[in-house]
Symmetry: C2
Subunit: 327 residues, 2 copies
């Protein structure tokens, strides 16, 4: 099933069920006006939404209308929890090696995770408006799971059953603000402004073979300043999967529905595929040549992220953003 | 104005306006069924709520009923953002000194803040259910601000105008899980399980002289295992106030309404007043005698926190919790 949120001017938008080919949509039943309301009542609403999805795909849905992707907001504009990992080892390894560090001793003991900003999610085509280029504007390409209620103490194997949706995530980062913030050991805060979500949220079953019960396979395609930047396999090269991430944090807390769980910037050991953020690309350049050449994002620069299956079909829709100066 | 949330079995409860003497209450108008809905629409709803508050205090409110404090949930059970500081210097200084560390160089440059768990807030009298005593169960006594929409780039002076409410906060902490987590520099996660909020949320104007536009004055009273543990002045000994905290994080992000902002464990330089958490008490014991004597919380232990004005009146209602084992 594919879901989306119509930007109707309200804070949380209006929940839509979207046809498989993204051609048509229908408003969700009035008991579930928003994505949060659906996730809060998933057991009851999921069969109703699935029924509407079937009717949309059969062209029999009453009140179906043409989907206009430019009218879509982030599927969830605000969430009660965002957990972001640094799970792809080559991403961490390159960043540390470039500054002369080795991997932390405990890197394989448990996923490296922080709780980050979970509100203000931009639409897929919103401009990235930020006050200063000097803060070091970068993106991170990720696929995030959206959970239902997750009980405290869940195992990694059980945890994946609480995943309701997957979305594309552009985790905006301010590289110059990261080192002083991490030096204080309290995690990322000002170095992580609002991020963007892809327009279409997809249930695990809709992914077919791309979802192996642990990871989402397929290729993360990235273009920066109009040029192809990376094409990364999302389903490999991480020792931890979505269930590990959820279970690790759920050791001492249950989750609210709508928790967004990312594995961090997608990255492959094969360095010929490019990088899921500019920071890692610059680290790779430093390792190879002693000098970072690719500039971080500047005002006016464009970014495009799209996750494709092995036949080239877009799974979550694109993220297409331009960076501009916040006035 | 005093507000509260009735535990009606729903996820977000039902918003109540509560009389000044906490004797009676009335349901908020149906357009604002929950605390979040009121905060989302504060400009429109605040005059309506204030009118009801005046009628309640005059005994002229239609449909007023007797307030039963044991039926109250946390004023906000889930929020889109919780920012917690470590602002009271003596709290940090004692904890660091006990382990042989000095204060960080940049401690006065900007507030030390992390983004923590913002869901699962317990009611004021809920048991603290946790899986293991060995995790090192502790509390932290705080007063938290609840904001409205906060624009990006706000100044500390402007920031305090976006505070809608204040609440009492018991920030549950797992001391044994803190050091390995902070060593990873990604902030607190498993070391911070669900916390509790006091039953009554209070607007700044209701605080009178206790709110000086920067800090909330009065005395934080704490009892542990039935014995008086601390009586701390909440309005002194912090170089940063609520406006500083909000402005620091808002450098690169706007806030959603309902953001909860704590200054961290209240603490005074005068060490005769006791401590706002057991961890700091143990640090003080180590500094003075070389040995920590006061045990952390164990299953069966009780905790009481109440913030009083200088005439001994309870401002936010009490937090009274017992620790028990999660089955």
């Amino acid at each position: 099933m594919k879901l989306a949120t119509l930007n109707d001017g309200s804070r949380d938008g209006r929940l839509l069920v979207v046809s498989r080919d993204l051609g048509t949509a229908v408003s969700a039943p009035k008991d579930y006006p928003t994505m949060q309301a659906a996730l809060d009542n998933w057991a009851e609403c999921e069969p109703e939404l699935q029924k509407l999805y079937g009717q949309l795909n059969d062209n029999t849905a009453a009140d179906a209308f043409e989907l206009k992707i430019e009218q879509l907001a982030a599927p969830l504009r605000r969430s009660y929890q965002y957990l972001d990992g640094a799970c792809y080892i080559s991403h961490i390894q390159r960043n540390r090696q470039a500054r002369g560090d080795s991997l932390p001793d405990d890197i394989l003991d448990a996923p490296l995770v922080y709780q980050g900003i979970s509100h203000g999610y931009m639409s897929w085509n919103d401009p990235i408006k930020l006050p200063r280029e000097e803060d070091g504007i970068d993106f991170e390409a990720e696929i995030a799971a959206v959970t239902g209620d997750v009980p405290i103490g869940v195992s990694p194997e059980e945890a994946v059953d609480y995943i309701r949706l997957f979305v594309l995530l552009q985790d905006t980062s301010l590289r110059a603000l990261v080192p002083p913030e991490l030096k204080r050991t309290f995690g990322f805060l000002t170095s992580k402004p609002c991020s963007a979500l892809g327009p279409i949220a997809v249930t695990p079953d809709e992914l077919g073979n791309l979802w192996d019960g642990k990871m989402v396979h397929g290729k993360m395609n990235v273009w920066v300043r109009g040029k192809k930047f990376a094409e990364i396999e999302s389903g490999i090269d991480s020792p931890f999967h979505y269930g590990d991430m959820i279970a690790h944090v759920a050791i001492t807390r249950p989750f609210e529905p709508g928790t967004i769980v990312g594995l961090g910037t997608v990255s492959n050991e094969d360095d010929s595929v490019g990088c899921g953020c500019i920071g890692e690309q610059r680290a790779m350049e430093i390792i190879k040549t002693g000098e970072a050449k690719t500039p971080l994002l500047r005002f006016g620069d464009s970014l495009r992220i799209e996750h494709l299956d092995y036949e080239g079909n877009s799974i979550f829709g694109p993220i297409e953003q331009k960076v501009s100066q916040l006035q």
